[in-house]
Symmetry: D2
Subunit: 134 residues, 4 copies
């Protein structure tokens, strides 16, 4: 029911820092989303392509612990692990670590699928990908 974790490496861009000189709290949601979409890509799911096909992956709940701030020039990685949560939801456990290993953010993101003209849930072909543990 779970797939291999993925990891992406990124670098803080100065425009992502706010007037406190640290990465703004909303920007971590951007980082986490980008990492999730790369994770989905790794199991054969294309976020934009799915939308064009009438299937939208949406976040229904986010829980984020901000442990330490990233600053201008910091290198960091985002680790993501996704698994099914019952029949209609999936759950990402994610963390952001500075290049030296310092924990920055720990997050739990719950999502589901919205299919045009249909009830929320995860279409069978997508479930299969998870089952396969690809």
């Amino acid at each position: 029911m779970s797939v291999l974790p993925t990891q992406i490496n990124l670098e803080v861009r100065d425009y992502e820092c706010d007037l406190q000189g640290i990465v703004n709290n909303a920007v971590y949601l951007n980082y986490l989303e980008h990492a999730r979409h790369k994770q989905l890509q790794a199991i054969g799911l294309d976020f934009a392509g799915l939308h064009d096909g009438g299937l939208d992956l949406v976040v229904t709940r986010s829980e984020v612990d901000y442990l330490a701030p990233l600053k201008s020039g910091d290198q960091f990685r985002v680790e993501s692990r996704v698994s099914l949560l019952g029949r209609v939801r999936f759950e990402f456990l994610q963390q952001i670590l500075r290049a030296d290993g310092l924990p920055i953010v720990k997050a739990r993101i719950v999502g589901t699928c919205l299919v045009k003209n249909s009830r929320p849930g995860i279409p069978a072909p997508i479930c299969k990908l998870f089952d396969a543990g690809v």
Copy 2:
């Protein structure tokens, strides 16, 4: 220990919508932050001014439930209620409602103060504002 709730009225800007045609999940964090800073302003606290004086208000945890999406042109309001959480943290309970009353987002944001060269906590003068129930 708590202060009067505040409410701000906003409108979706098209650049805040992503390729799904709905407001991106990270943008709600922007809305919520702006509402918190207006709430702080209402009790006499200026986020940028505090930073210039060496005191940073930072988010330590966010919990956000996404109930329904906002779209291009939607009018909405953000309601915020803040209270102290023990001696070193404060808690915002916030919700975003579309103009017609539809609940969009429900959030709990926990924060603290970082004072230059000092331990985390909430300086006495700021606590006083909360006690006063201004």
Copy 3:
């Protein structure tokens, strides 16, 4: 060939400021876009609705002079004037002024229409709106 100018009133949000404590240069493009979409709305054009109908309004060139920076808490207005530029383009002349009248940004934005399966240009019904000087 030109329509009545419009004006919108906005306020700086703290997350729009970067580590220099001023509104980041890219954010003014957001302000200008939002003002253009309100200007289009005023002449009966809905940016998102047009996209759903297969017609995309896109920017082809922007020229922006940054005269003075906006800061946390600043109130400002964006003034926009739009006119046709030949047969296939339109031109927005825009300026951002702080509430006390200080000029912040002066901009010229050129755009065109992309119609699905068609050449760039401005469809006749849209041209008419401009001609009418609504």
Copy 4:
């Protein structure tokens, strides 16, 4: 008076796309800024560090031609070349190219230095870096 050009490689992140399914026009300004800061870094200038030291590099004019849009998943590179423009300004000539070589954006960005308690201009030590053609 000019320094070696630099190049950075980036990838579109889905949250950078707007409801038209293409990268929003303001986001290219983010890409361009990030590339400029990497270019400055390459000649020994740290944007955030300079700010902390009381010297702010600011944009005074931007001219951007949008030639073709980037979409979800696109890989691209930003090329930047910087040179002095008279005694008080510098000029970046930048372009964004999709991985297959398709020109996306062509830009000219003019900037200057603001030194605390001083007139606009470029401090001598910074001029030297340019003269040296590092």
